[in-house]
Symmetry: C2
Amino acid sequence: HIKHIAIYGKGGIGKSCTASNIAAACAEGGSRVLVVGCDPKSDSTISLIGHRIPTMMDLIREGREIEESDVVFTGYRGVRCIEVGGPEPGVGCAGRGIIVAIDFLKKVSRIYDEVDLVLYDVPGDIVCGGFSAPIRKGLVSGAYIITSGEYMPIYAANNICRGLKRLGAPLAGVICNSREADGEREIVEAFARSIGSEMVAFIPKMAVVQECERKGTTVIEGAPGALVAGVYRQLADHVMKCSHARVPEPLDDQALRELSTP
Amino acid sequence: HIKHIAIYGKGGIGKSCTASNIAAACAEGGSRVLVVGCDPKSDSTISLIGHRIPTMMDLIREGREIEESDVVFTGYRGVRCIEVGGPEPGVGCAGRGIIVAIDFLKKVSRIYDEVDLVLYDVPGDIVCGGFSAPIRKGLVSGAYIITSGEYMPIYAANNICRGLKRLGAPLAGVICNSREADGEREIVEAFARSIGSEMVAFIPKMAVVQECERKGTTVIEGAPGALVAGVYRQLADHVMKCSHARVPEPLDDQALRELSTP
Ligand SMILES: Nc1ncnc2c1ncn2[C@@H]1O[C@H](COP(=O)(O)OP(=O)(O)O)[C@@H](O)[C@H]1O
Ligand SMILES: Nc1ncnc2c1ncn2[C@@H]1O[C@H](COP(=O)(O)OP(=O)(O)O)[C@@H](O)[C@H]1O
Ligand code: SF4
Ligand SMILES: [Mg+2]
Ligand SMILES: [Mg+2]
């Protein structure tokens, strides 16, 4: 039975970095993994492949007939990667692209039959019908939200919970990717509890993460002995087990402001 | 002749704060101003009114027949304010709301005939057909982009330029809202020049800004003698003159990375 997991969070909070390290750790553990980058930035899979790959939407805009081998690439430990790409700036719908990509993967390619885990890396700045596409397609068995203790990422996290609740989609956990703000761990733990979930990982902010990114590798591959690699492996275990997923109960604006001011 | 100016930038970069201070300064200068908040966060006009106002999309979702007095509120020095509101999380399109609001303002209300300046406060995290609505409606005579020297806001700024170029919309200038990063002023100046524009303001990061925000006022109203109030007034002058607007020439990913690494 294949697991479809969506990873949401505000732009720049660490979704791609975390998703690719989870993917690498799960692959080391023997799982067959596919990462679907749904962020218009199309940089979800660089540290798994070593460089940027062509995006599906770019190929479609060129008018080409696409085959699986044009868009699905294999990276570290056999992790399969696809980048949806973004809308044509100013005109298209980012969500449309995600829907087109998922339909392609289901109809044209056999990849969904060949993997154990699919990770969708999705921006959470705007919680519209577009970015909830993986969920609306009924595919996603659980979502994780990445945040830090700062107000903007927590605001985005709460808004994502509104979307999950509206769609009846279960939240598997909240991940704190540390920005070393005061009282961050307590804020994120309190936020996770108050929406009926839990903080499942606290990822320390470490220079080795950006060093590996610059080298074009995940931490799992580039610095397997690092402390943060161990945190990513624990997270990978949680994803593969992914129990306790529950539909969250978002906070109102007032409660959110009170919670996120230390 | 009425001026329509859009202010774009990544979430949390300072759009609402800057837009409301520009509005307050323009109103002090005798201009009649309307602020249209197009960010689903719906917090564009809090410091002009003193509290949050009902959003248009919320009223429409309640099924009410709306009149101008239900959605347009008057704040500091007579600045008129409207909050579009966001999509229903997970299902709607943020852009649809903006289109509905602009159509309402043009058809039902006479407000467009009663002001000299309209400021649209629009998120720039996702440059899709939705958020470019004020531009696609052919209304906007010029856009400003707010950024800092950090990579993510610059990346968003460059992506906004792609959208402006695609729609043939002129960029009036780049605003640096300081995050006190190393070499920020030089990075933003270089970025603005390389896209064929200029940095029109460098807004210092000052605690008085957040103090006024907590009191529910702009800096123009709450701390008129502060240094940063003078910067906002200069910016207001630039907006009312808004002369050198030109369609920008966005950078490719490679050039962007080189430019934003000090
Ligand atoms: N735990 C961490 N420690 C240090 N840097 C991190 C950590 N997590 C992410 N980063 C850095 O933060 C930046 C943004 O991360 P990224 O995964 O690209 O965010 P997103 O995908 O949410 O936009 C990257 O440069 C990444 O290296
Ligand atoms: N020049 C500045 N100095 C200090 N704080 C600032 C400045 N500009 C904005 N801020 C603060 O940054 C936060 C985000 O600003 P906001 O205008 O809400 O961003 P956006 O509308 O782009 O999401 C606010 O708390 C605001 O007070
Ligand atoms: S659904 Fe979302 S991504 Fe698509 S156009 Fe609307 S706001 Fe943009
Ligand atoms: Mg990313
Ligand atoms: Mg805002």
